[in-house]
């Protein structure tokens, strides 16, 4: 039945639509669909209505939701033929619609940061809204690149999928993809009028889609929120404003509107739409402040005024009366949409898009026709102009009825409301100017003002059931919605309006259940109470913010208390991980030297390639954040040049290995996976500290601005360095390289997938169970993170060839799917998934599979294998009910629910996936073998890992923090809390920390250039030794202590009047003190055993320095490990052991004789430990440098050859000339020089062949020079020449044979020796 939702080929619009969503629908259900779709909405509305009117017991409905189908309690709903899968989206949409006015109009006025529209009060936006969209767009910027771009494109292109996307149509078709959303903002049709008031417009964006009227209202009233009416019944008047709003909305919502098209074509009247359009285009003239926004007619203006006043409470409902098109278009506010014909189809989609709220098409129907095309046009046609399909008859009737009702209402309320409103306006305006004021004014939820309590309770129950039964596509999206309700800001509601809304005057379904902030908060708190377990697993900060939220305190002190308690248990916090400083892949001779290459050329080419790769990487690091920098433009040629060389030398496998290693090195850490918008907390905290207002302000801005709230469903992204690798691959676009990467990634992934993670020791009451468990947890988390990273890139590379910026048309998609179905998928995802379910390893496999699938292209999901795997995942998700005590650990489940929910919201995943019954049914998951103990039942996931994998969970914190910031005028709790934290941070001595860090860095660095096996060995040995140490302490020290205690006990008991209990306490205390000795002993144990093992395990040829360092590192790691466990557990261990012993002793007391108590163990242990090992292995110390020819006791203190050469050159050049009169050489100088030459030549330490020869040559030349002088001044030079003789002689040169002897003819007259 469900399938017909999507398949019904009725009427033009429907047909088109159906074609777009071909594939999920069952072919034969079409006829059925025709007759059933429309009524379905009605039936569901009826169901809800009857529930609300208490005609049906709520509990039955809950039961029904819990157990689909069979139970007897469902008899009542059978006649209605409602499937729960249909009801869930209906309910969700109902809630969204109900609350949209609240969320929208909120004085949200994040006005604080008008320049940053997206920052605007998150609370106002629906989950997933415009903010998210915008975020998406933004993020695409540098980081997300093509992929994100395509995503956005998706959105904008969505219209094709969803009729609701009409608003899109108004946009020029040319709209750029990535900026689709943004451009929409500026597109003439919508924006102009409102652009001046960015804050308000942006804020409302989400809502616009939902209801044009509302949006318009809000826009219309630039004035403070207080003026604005949530539920105004006003009318057509608002069209203009609507236009504006819409435009804003479009821009902002780019993603959602487009991507998850919103279907509500609803009753957008042609007149209205026109008005909107017109306004938008020409609207520039209108100023924010102007209530009468350039109304074409005078009447309009007046009306507007009137409405405005009214609007406060009745924005949607009233619309109809004012608008001329009233009859044709019901301008009903209550878009709950059950009524409209199109809805049935659109409904489900809207709901489950990441932007569930935005249901309404913001653009008027007529416009779309012109611009777009078939789908929207047809739909609108069907709605407005065209002959409605027969099947819609029924609905029409309903519609009429509603209209009549409304007309009645409208008549009366309007006049009344006018009076109060009018006066208010002028006064209010000024207020509107200051954006801050509204906040404070508007939001003061008061439990006593909650209306419709029982209905709210009922809705909350139904809603909670949907959440806890995983009937909603994304649990966290709903939680986000609930928090939005909690933090919503609404203008004050007047009493009368209040009545109108809550009293029975309205249709049951049209009452404003969530139209007031009081009700919203009430509802939200109810849900939070109900979903406490889920909430309690959020991070500490979020819990703190929730606990400190004054609304929570006000509405449910008990919830606050529980939250406060839960805070202590929560361990998740965003801790900036240590930045490892090594960023390059070490050169390993084993894999990288010449013998690994086919030719010298390949080897040397790769040498260059490695350098180019890093050069590119460095350049990217330096510049990629600069505004105009583009990877392709700046680095494209270099990358391709390098890749071409790869091709010519066939080095792909080498490069693929380098590439992947580098990828893993840089991106594996949790930090790299963090969401891009997150700034380190420390930074934030640094700004606190002083309580000056300025700082506070800045803090507030920071809280809101940089951490823009992206919503819980951000599109897949490549944060941090991942972006580089993604862009590199894209730019290189080298099929050979990609193939090698794929091979390698597949292999690594499957290997990781098989990693065995040990169950913690079964009798884990014992202490060391915890220790091993910790290790396994860490191992698991690192494996999981790595697998996710690799899977994402495998997915990226695999689907890269098929990526398109826009969703291809149905025909193309079919053809492509058909074509592609013939070849094998890179990874047999179904087999992998089935096997992991069978072996209960879903907690490892599903998260990385999700990463892989998130990279799918548009056609991908339609291929059998991916379609199947999505179905399997869906059924897995459905089974993964959190509240149910299963064998799967809660946090394990939570992680899977989070990632799966996220996957289902990704644009490329067809929206209809979630609510298609036949889908889930078609692919059954094999039951897992019950006797297999897989990973799923091990407590492997902790909050840290959960938040690392799902950074979007941090959005809750941001939302709440933004709320606090917004209401800080009243003194939020945030500041109070944060200050101490910052003080703490500052207090810690930085020096010791930096020293420690340096040591750790050095250790890491040490392993960097060693073979990987060395590190593995060290880590393994350290791990084992540390673990053994703990065991050793247990059997030695603890045993001894307990025995000693036993002796004391028995002795003590003998003495008269002994009180066993007192004895027990004192002995226990004594023993615990003794237990501290464990730390010292552990140190000794590790210092002895660690190095021993290392010596045995490392190869003999390991150099002494490396060996010693390895030993020391092992020692440290092992000690640290043992130490950390012992210091926190030894006392408990001793106590436990002692208690056992004590009990036993007490029991056996009648026979006082105890077993021999000897310290034998102690002695032995001490003996073993006392054997201090200090000897280092005698290893070959390496040969001393060959200084062979130095004289025996040479102190190597001779002048350096270079110095002597310089000196001799100087002398020679003076000798050779030309020289000045001042320049002269003395015999003394010459003597000294020659002495140096002699010394230098005799010491070989710095002697190298070339300088030595040169020295000899110069000496000879100098000798010749001198000899030639001898002719002139024989007497003076005698001494020198004899000296020279000896020197030259000593170096074995026969001067007589030297050519210089005959050649040199110095200028004797100028050469003077003194």
């Amino acid at each position: 039945m469900l399938s017909c939702f999507w398949s019904a080929p009725q009427g033009n619009a429907v047909a088109t639509f159906a074609r777009l969503l071909p594939f999920w629908s069952a072919p034969n259900s079409k006829q059925q669909a025709e007759c059933q779709t429309a009524p379905a909405q009605t039936r569901m509305a009826a169901l809800l209505e009857s529930l609300l009117q208490k005609e049906v017991e709520a509990i039955k409905a809950v039961e029904w939701l819990k157990h689909d189908g069979d139970s007897d309690s469902l008899a009542w709903c059978k006649p209605l033929k409602i499937e729960r899968q249909e009801f869930v989206p209906f309910l969700l949409n109902f809630l969204r619609e109900q609350s949209c006015s609240t969320l929208t109009h909120g004085p949200a006025t994040p006005a604080k940061t008008p320049s940053h529209p997206r920052v605007s009060q998150p609370s106002q936006q629906g989950p997933g809204f415009s903010s998210e969209l915008r975020g998406g767009c933004r993020s695409t910027g540098p980081g997300t690149g093509p992929r994100s771009a395509s995503r956005v494109q998706l959105f904008s292109s969505t219209p094709s999928l969803s009729p609701g996307a009409e608003w899109d149509t108004t946009q020029p078709p040319s709209g750029s993809h990535c900026l689709g959303g943004i451009s929409a903002l500026s597109s003439p049709s919508f924006s102009s009028a409102r652009s001046p008031a960015p804050a308000s417009t942006s804020r409302h964006t989400p809502s616009e889609r939902r209801s044009t009227q509302r949006a318009s209202l809000g826009d219309f009233m630039p004035s403070p929120p207080e003026l604005q009416h949530h539920h105004s019944l006003s009318l057509g008047v608002q069209q203009q404003p609507r236009g504006r709003r819409r435009s804003a909305g479009m821009g902002g919502q780019g993603r959602q509107g487009g991507g998850r098209g919103v279907f509500q074509t609803e009753e957008v009247g042609p007149g209205r739409s026109e008005g909107g359009g017109r306004k938008g285009r020409g609207g520039g003239a209108n100023k924010m402040g102007d209530p009468a926004v350039s109304p074409p007619m005078a009447q309009m203006t007046t009306l507007v005024q009137l409405n405005l006043t009214n609007l406060e409470d009745f924005p949607p409902m009233g619309m109809s009366h004012a608008s001329p098109a009233l009859h044709t278009k019901p301008s009903r506010r209550i878009n709950p949409t059950p009524v409209s014909a199109e809805r049935p189809h659109s409904r489900p989609k809207t709901c489950f898009t990441s932007t569930p709220f935005s249901t309404r098409p913001s653009s008027p129907p007529p416009v779309p026709e012109a611009v777009t095309g078939a789908i929207e046009g047809s739909i609108t046609g069907a709605l407005n102009v065209g002959s409605p399909p027969l099947s819609l008859q029924e609905e029409r009737e309903l519609l009429k009825r509603v209209k009549c009702k409304r007309a009645e209402q409208v008549g009366s309320p309007l006049p009344t409301s006018l009076d109060p409103c009018t006066p208010t306006k002028p006064g209010l305006r000024p207020v509107s100017g200051s954006k801050m004021t509204p906040v404070t004014l508007g939001s003061c939820p008061d439990p006593s003002k909650v209306t419709l309590t029982s209905e709210l309770d009922l809705l909350a129950d139904l809603y909670c059931t949907c959440i806890s039964e995983n009937l909603v596509p994304n649990v966290f999206l709903e939680l986000f919605f609930v928090l939005q309700l909690l933090t919503s800001r609404t203008p004050a509601v007047t009493e009368e309006e209040d009545k109108d809304l809550s009293m029975g005057t309205l249709d049951v379904l049209e009452r404003g259940y969530l139209s007031k902030v009081h009700n919203c908060v009430y509802f939200s708190v109810r849900v939070l109470e109900n979903q406490f377990e889920l909430v309690s697993h959020l991070d500490k900060d979020t819990l703190r913010l929730l606990a400190e939220n004054e609304r929570v305190t006000c509405f449910s002190p008990s919830l606050r208390n529980r939250l406060t308690l839960a805070q202590d248990a929560s361990t998740a916090k965003v801790s900036p991980s240590v930045d490892t400083f090594i960023h390059s892949v070490p050169f390993q001779p084993a894999t990288d030297n010449r013998s690994n290459f086919s030719s010298d050329k390949a080897f040397h080419t790769f040498k260059k390639q490695r350098d180019i790769f890093y050069e590119v990487l460095r350049e990217w690091e330096d510049f990629h954040k600069e505004p105009r920098w583009e990877f392709e433009a700046e680095l494209g040629n270099r990358v391709r040049g390098m890749v071409n060389q790869l091709n010519s030398t066939g080095n792909h496998s080498h490069f693929a290995r380098l590439f992947l290693k580098q990828l893993v090195q840089m991106c594996k850490g949790p930090r790299a996976l963090g969401s891009p918008g997150d700034t380190p907390d420390a930074d934030l905290l640094g700004m606190l500290g002083a309580d000056s207002l300025g700082r506070l302000k800045r803090l507030e801005e920071r809280l809101i601005q940089p951490q823009g709230i992206l919503g819980p469903c951000p599109p897949p992204a490549f944060p941090g360095h991942q972006e580089f690798f993604r862009d590199f691959l894209k730019t290189a676009s080298c099929c050979q390289l990609n193939q090698h990467l794929k091979d390698s990634l597949c292999q690594q992934l499957l290997q990781l997938d098989e990693v065995s993670v040990l169950a913690p020791v079964v009798s884990s009451t014992e202490g060391e169970g915890d220790m091993e468990q910790q290790d396994e947890k860490q191992r698991f988390s690192s494996v999981l993170l790595l697998a996710r990273l690799l899977a994402k890139f495998l997915g990226y590379i695999s689907f890269l060839p098929y990526q398109t910026s826009e969703r291809p048309s149905r025909e193309i998609q079919e053809a492509t799917a058909n074509l592609r179905s013939k070849s094998m998928s890179v990874l047999d995802v179904c087999a992998v998934l089935r096997s992991c379910v069978r072996r209960r390893r879903t907690i490892l496999t599903v998260p990385w599979l999700v990463e892989f699938l998130s990279m799918l292209d548009f056609t991908g999901p339609f291929l059998l294998c991916y379609r199947t795997v999505l179905g399997l995942l869906l059924s897995l998700y459905r089974r993964m009910v959190l509240s149910r005590e299963g064998e799967v650990c809660y946090l394990n489940q939570l992680l899977m629910v989070a990632v799966l929910g996220w996957l289902f919201q990704i644009p490329v995943i067809p929206e209809e996936l979630f609510f298609t019954t036949d889908f889930a049914v078609a692919v059954e998951l094999e039951e897992s073998q019950t006797n297999v103990q897989g990973l799923d039942c091990l407590p492997l996931v902790d909050q840290q890992l959960l938040y690392t994998c799902c950074p979007f969970l941090g959005e809750f914190r941001k939302l709440l923090a933004a709320f606090v910031a917004g209401s800080s005028a009243r003194g939020g709790g945030l500041i109070r809390k944060i200050t101490p934290t910052s003080a703490e941070l500052r207090g810690t001595p930085t020096t010791t920390r930096s020293q420690q860090k340096r040591q750790v860095d050095l250790e890491q660095a040490f392993f960097h250039n060693q073979p990987p096996s060395l590190r593995r060995t060290v880590e393994f040995v350290a791990e084992r030794v540390g673990s053994n140490c703990v065991k050793h302490m247990k059997v030695t020290l603890v045993c001894e202590l307990v025995r000693g205690g036993e002796r004391l006990l028995r002795e003590g008991l003998i003495s008269p009047g002994a009180n066993p209990l007192i004895l027990n306490d004192s002995i226990c205390a004594q023993l615990c003190d003794g237990g501290q000795e464990a730390l010292e002993r552990a140190t000794r144990f590790c210092s002895e055993k660690g190095p021993e093992a290392i010596r045995v395990l490392l190869p003999d040829e390991t150099s002494p320095a490396v060996l010693t360092t390895s030993e020391n590192i092992t020692k440290r790691l092992a000690t640290e490990k043992a130490y950390s466990w012992l210091s926190s557990n030894i006392t408990a261990l001793v106590k436990r052991e002692w208690k056992t012993k004590f009990d036993r002793v007490m029991k056996s007391l009648p026979s006082p004789e105890a077993s021999g108590v000897e310290g034998s163990g102690l002695v032995a242990g001490a003996a073993a430990v006392s054997q201090e090992q200090s000897r280092t292995p005698k290893r070959d110390m390496g040969k001393e440098e060959a200084v062979t020819s130095c004289p025996p006791d040479c102190p190597h203190s001779a002048p350096l050859p270079s110095d002597v050469l310089v000196e001799i050159k100087e002398v020679l050049s003076i000798a050779v000339g030309p020289r000045s009169e001042k320049e002269a050489l003395t015999c003394l100088q010459l003597n000294a020089l020659l002495g140096k030459v002699g010394d230098t030549l005799s010491c070989k330490k710095f002697s190298f062949p070339m300088p030595e020869q040169m020295l000899i040559r110069c000496t000879v030349l100098l000798a010749c020079k001198l000899v030639s002088c001898v002719y002139q001044e024989r007497s003076t030079t005698q001494r020198t020449s004899s000296q020279l003789d000896t020197t030259v002689g000593s170096i074995g040169v026969n001067m007589g044979q030297h050519p210089c002897g005959t050649v040199l003819t110095p200028c004797p007259d100028k050469f003077r020796l003194f």
Binding site: F581, I582, H583, S584, F587, P589, D592, N593, F603, H604, F606, K607, R610, D611, F613, E615, R998, Q999, D1001, L1002, A1005, F1006, N1009, L1079, T1083, S1103, A1105, V1106, T1109, I1113, R1116, T1119, E1120, Y1123, S1124, S1127, E1185, L1200, S1202, L1205, K1209, L1212, S1213, V1216, G1217, P1218, S1220, K1245, F1246, F1248, M1250, P1251, M1254, R1257, L1261, P1299, V1303, L1304, T1305, C1307
Partner: protein, 288 residues
């Protein structure tokens, strides 16, 4: 010696009109008494090489060579006792050693069996030059040139190797274990710094895996070249490292410390090694 860029520029400016002779070096020394001679000589030499690169083609044009040769012949004949070749070199602003090479090369063109090998040998050993007068002039040129010539080359070579020996000595003194270039080469490394530390150290807070010794002054041009051809390649393979410019460098160039390339003008004194004597973990935990 670390120079600021301003200081460096001042020296460079001063060298602009100098000739690469002993006399000019003396001038330079007197002008900058606070800088070591090796630094000054190194800067001058680098600057002069740049100048030569710019102008060399002009001097090597056939007609210039011919005119130099003819001038030499005629002047040597006219004034046999004057160092005419050296004067000619200074006059046309060509390095004397290079001028000698040009002239000998030209001289050999008239001889039989002239080869580059023969030319080099004659320059290194002027006594091999058949023309005795020319031999004298050539020797005068090469011995007086402080930037070019076989003797200068040899000195540079010696300085480089001595620096490496000194570096190894220092490392051994500090008990730091390392692999040198030759050991690395035998293991098949494609790029080999002078030293790879077996156990890394931290110098002034920066991790150091390798050390490269440069017996020259680090100016912009040469540092850039070294970065591209050597230092980054080392980083790419072995991680962060240290470069020692024994003859100093421009201080501003030391800007890549955080990225993994540290510059020093001497062997560093602030060295932190892995200290396992007292296990930091243990002591910390005990006190904490």
């Amino acid at each position: 010696m670390k120079l600021s860029r301003a200081e460096y520029k001042e020296i460079v400016k001063c060298t602009e009109h100098l000739r690469p002779t002993r006399q000019c070096m003396t001038i330079l020394r007197q002008r900058f008494p606070n800088h070591s001679q090796s630094t000054l000589l190194s800067i001058f030499s680098l600057e002069y090489q740049k100048r030569t690169k710019r102008t060399m083609s002009r001097h090597q044009a056939p007609d210039s060579i011919e005119s130099y040769y003819q001038r030499y012949l005629s002047e040597a004949k006219a004034r046999p006792s004057v160092p005419v070749l050296l004067e000619l070199a200074n006059e046309v602003d060509l390095s004397p050693a290079l001028m000698a090479r040009v002239i000998v090369d030209r001289f050999l063109q008239d001889q039989e069996g002239a080869s580059k090998q023969v030319l080099n040998n004659m320059l290194r050993e002027p006594s091999l030059i058949p023309d005795q007068a020319l031999a004298n002039h050539v020797y005068q040129c090469t011995i007086n040139d402080c930037c070019y010539g076989p003797l200068v080359d040899c000195i540079k070579h010696a300085i480089g190797q001595e620096a490496e020996v000194l570096l190894r000595d220092k490392l051994k003194e500090r008990n730091l274990s390392f692999l040198d270039e030759n050991q690395l080469r035998t293991k098949g490394y494609d790029k080999t710094p002078d030293i790879i530390l077996e156990v890394p150290i931290a110098v002034e807070g920066h991790i150091v895996h390798w050390i490269e010794s440069k017996a020259s002054f680090g100016d912009d041009h040469s540092h850039r070249t070294y970065l591209n051809e050597q230092f980054w390649s080392y980083w790419n393979r072995f991680g962060p490292g240290l470069v020692i410019y024994w003859h100093g460098f421009i201080g501003e160039l030391d800007s890549q410390r955080d990225r993994g390339i540290l510059l020093k003008d001497c062997f560093p004194s602030d060295i932190v090694t892995l200290c396992h004597g007292t296990s930091p973990a243990t002591t910390d935990s005990l006190t904490g």
